[in-house]
């Protein structure tokens, strides 16, 4: 079966040019390759600065690639002009870790969810409203929250809202860039359940970027470990956890805090 997403030798370089002096380039991604099957969850883990967030932005077509190809449903997005990309972007949605920055605090919940529908111009006002409310219900936000400004929501509620907004465009791929990291543990569980439920009912592919290995292990079918702009290890979750092959992986595993009642599988030191 054709993978829904295939990344080949992705390179992303940030150029820093100044008026005088030597330009300093920063190589964020140094040849990243992997594939993801439709409906699966891939966790991308790594220490800070390993390039995970840059990878997320590139896959979501929010950054242009310096080199390499990005195959989405068999088409190479790296060669698409902006006009084409604009049509593709709704299908690959990105959710950030800090919704406070990506949700306008003054807008009400309803306005935030309706906005993408509004931009699509396909539906009438009543239809937009109906769809918005059904989406809110889907993510577990009660209807009476709809009129409140986004600034009044708790962290967990804001993430649900961000997910609802992403869902308005029927995405095929949902990228979560540390989307759970800022939440309380019990709320993380709720959102994780929501994601699993959405995946099983909508068949979405999830790209879960995090440095929380525990949650990554729980949610994913496969794990890719990044270090310094490269993928150093990639494989099925259970296998990676049992037999880490690379130092970076071992280092990440060693840094995971564990409850005595939930120890990690043995043989990870």
């Amino acid at each position: 079966m054709e993978p829904i997403l295939k990344v080949e030798n992705l390179v992303k370089r940030y150029a820093k040019r100044s008026f005088v002096g030597t330009p300093q380039d920063f190589l964020a991604l140094d040849g990243v390759s992997f594939t993801v099957s439709a409906g699966a969850t891939l966790a991308i883990v790594g220490e800070s600065g390993s390039g995970k967030s840059t990878l997320a932005s590139c896959i979501a077509c929010l950054e242009t690639l310096t080199a390499g190809s990005l195959w989405f449903e068999g088409r190479n997005l790296a060669q698409f002009p902006e006009s084409e990309l604009r049509k593709i972007r709704p299908q690959i949605q990105l959710i950030f870790s800090d919704p406070a920055n990506s949700l306008s605090p003054r807008w009400t919940v309803l306005e935030i969810v309706v906005e993408p529908l509004f931009l699509q111009r396909k539906l009438g006002r009543k239809e937009r409203s109906t769809r918005a409310f059904s989406l809110l219900e889907r993510v577990g936000l009660s209807a009476d929250i709809a009129k409140r400004p986004a600034s009044e929501l708790s962290g967990g509620q804001r993430q649900r809202l961000a997910i609802a907004r992403a869902l308005t465009l029927d995405p095929k791929i949902l990228i979560l860039d540390e989307a759970l990291s800022a939440l309380d543990c019990s709320v993380q569980a709720q959102i994780a359940n929501l994601l699993l439920e959405l995946q099983s009912s909508l068949g979405m592919t999830l790209l879960f970027i995090t440095h929380d290995l525990t949650m990554a292990a729980h949610l994913s079918d496969e794990i890719a470990v990044m270090s310094r702009g490269r993928i150093v290890e990639h494989g099925p979750t259970a296998k990676i956890l049992r037999n880490p092959g690379h130092d970076a992986t071992r280092q990440l595993l060693a840094a995971v805090p564990q409850l005595p009642s939930a120890p990690w599988p043995a043989a990870q030191q």
């Binding site: 100044s18 008026f19 005088v20 002096g21 800070s48 600065g49």
Partner: protein
């Protein structure tokens, strides 16, 4: 570091050049010229006018006139004033000095009052002192400069405490050293008061908001949590952190030293740059106008440049590169 300075210097320079071009362009393009007034005078023959115009090179194409003007400026000669029949530069310098005497005093005084008031306001945010100060500045903001200046003049006339305009009394030259200073001071009181009062609201508000924002910042609470005493907190933690917006504002204050007092000078008959320029504009005395605008622009650019340098010195975040995160 040098890179930063050179960049800012280049900006300042380009600004001055750009403004000089524009000033030249606009005054030359403005309808009429100095000699048009003379044309209406039947006693002057048209041929004389032609000769005069040729003498002042008013017939040459604009770009050439600009270039020759730039050339002479670089040699220290800013052109010739038609109205006064003397070189422009000395005229401007005298007037500029008069303006500066006024504005420098007013700026120092205004900041000296605004800083403590703003800090006090920020410290007591929402409570009585803050509300009183904010109310006061709001009231001052509402009063137009013109009304203020006229009001002060009326005060002078009614009470006779202060001279009603001008920079020096009639018998200035004959006064002793001390009396000269006293005379100057008396003449300065009203215009300086007008300038200070009109600029105070803006300054106080900016100081207040800059300091209030810093007072709420986590690092200040953390410092308080470390037992840093209150005065140290205010002056060695809060104020330096609030410096950024205030320094930019200070740069503006410097920049406006030559240009901000025009109205007051006109109303109070202070022999500064303002009234002089006004006259020149009305008389189409081109080189005076361009020269005056150039002077003011140089001050503006210098003020900004000074602010840039101060910011660089005060804020290490501008000075240094970020660590790799």
């Amino acid at each position: 570091m040098m890179r930063y300075f050179l960049r800012r210097l280049a900006h300042a320079f380009l600004l001055v050049v750009g403004v000089s071009i524009l000033a030249f362009l606009f005054t030359a393009l403005a309808p009429g010229n100095y000699f048009d007034e003379m044309r209406l005078n039947p006693q002057i023959a048209p041929e004389t006018l032609v000769v005069l115009r040729a003498q002042y090179q008013l017939d040459r194409p604009l770009p050439l006139r600009y270039i020759s003007w730039v050339n002479s400026v670089l040699h220290g000669n800013m052109g010739f004033s038609f109205a006064y029949n003397t070189p422009v530069a000395p005229l401007l310098l005298v007037r500029a000095k008069n303006t500066l005497v006024l504005t420098i005093t007013a700026t120092i005084l205004a900041w000296a009052i605004a800083l403590p008031l703003g800090v006090w306001s920020a410290e007591t945010l929402g409570h009585f002192p803050d509300r009183a100060i904010s109310g006061g500045t709001a009231a001052l903001l509402v009063i137009p400069d013109l009304a203020l200046a006229l009001g002060l003049l009326v005060l002078a006339v009614r009470t006779g405490w202060f001279p009603t305009g001008g920079m020096a009394s009639v018998d200035f030259e004959s006064l002793s050293r001390i009396s000269k200073i006293r005379d100057l001071a008396l003449h300065m009181v009203l215009p300086v008061a007008a300038l200070v009062v009109s600029s105070l609201p803006l300054l106080v508000r900016h100081v207040r908001s800059a300091v209030a924002e810093v007072l709420r910042a986590p690092f200040l609470l953390a410092a308080e949590g470390h037992g840093i005493p209150r005065p140290t907190l205010l002056f060695r933690y809060a104020l330096p952190a609030a410096a950024n917006p205030l320094i930019s504002l200070f740069g503006f204050s410097i920049g406006a030293l030559l240009s901000g007092s025009l109205l007051i000078e006109v109303v109070m008959s202070w022999p500064g740059l303002g009234p002089f320029l006004l006259e020149a504009i009305l008389a189409r005395d081109i080189y005076v106008v361009v020269g005056g605008v150039l002077f003011s622009t140089i001050f503006l650019a210098a003020g900004n440049f000074l602010a840039d340098i101060l910011l660089y010195w005060v804020d290490p975040r501008i000075r240094t590169e970020r660590a790799s995160q």
